[in-house]
Symmetry: C2
Subunit: 128 residues, 2 copies
DNA sequence: CTCTTAATCAACCAAACAGTTGATCAATGA
DNA sequence: TCATTGATCAACTGTTTGGTTGATTAAGAG
């Protein structure tokens, strides 16, 4: 079911990973420095195994990497992966906002901009 | 199971919504202008009902809004919602990157920066 | 060698999700 | 009024996910 552009799977996994509040809290924690499974587990009322799974999800999504330090396997946040996500979102946000501004101007510049901004032709379509 | 900050549910739904390639394609399409269910369904080999559900997911996530135009219910992309997502991501990305730069300096500035950057104390923890 | 700590593997379960078909509602347009 | 088009509601199904318990591997510390 992937009729999308290449790299879609990676985005799938990355957004899915961030869709969970536990995993987002882990990202927040990791932004301040690497941490182990046990450290990441502490704030949550779930088992260590569940945490391990969450980390695996983040890792498989490319958002974190792991290394080795004796028995510990510290988890490390990959900032570049986060940047790829914002890049995807901004790509479309900026297009939409530019349409927004165009129409604002076109409407005399003093309109409350909470109206429909597009809905272009009554017939069929014009965009491309 | 929400021991996260307030607003977490909204982020849950927004990231979850973007975790699907079909919905991402819809966002891409909508960035160029509002569209109806049928228009959004066209590129995909799924039923109209499935598309309707996808749109409902995007709507419930706050990423799109809907209006009325005769029998049509055009879908409209909310750029501000996208911005809230990038804001969340950037918040932590920037923290991580600042740590990154700090350590780069600290290590003499000519080190391959693919090493562990934190792993602070061998004893227990130092961060706060 | 044995005990403890860190983490994972494996099997299992309940809830949620994506998609389907079939029926229905709502607003036109003939 | 009645047929048509756009979209949704409702019920059902197969798959995935998030969590659990229990057993196991790996690396030190005594």
């Amino acid at each position: 079911m992937e009729e999308d552009a290449p790299g879609a799977e990676s985005l799938d996994r990355a957004f899915m990973a961030l869709a969970d509040p536990v995993r987002r809290a882990m990202v927040a924690r990791l932004s301040r420095g690497d941490a182990t499974v046990n450290e990441l587990a502490e704030p949550f009322a779930i088992t260590k195994q569940a945490v391990s799974k969450h980390i695996h999800v983040l890792e498989h999504a490319g958002l974190v990497t792991r290394s080795r330090d004796a028995q510990r396997r510290p988890v490390h946040l990959d900032a570049a992966a986060l940047e790829r996500l914002t890049a995807w979102i901004d790509q479309y946000r900026l297009i939409a906002e530019s349409r927004f501004r165009q129409l604002d101007q076109l409407l005399g510049a003093s309109v409350s901009h909470h109206d429909q901004e597009n809905t272009p032709a009554k017939k069929k379509e014009e965009l491309k």
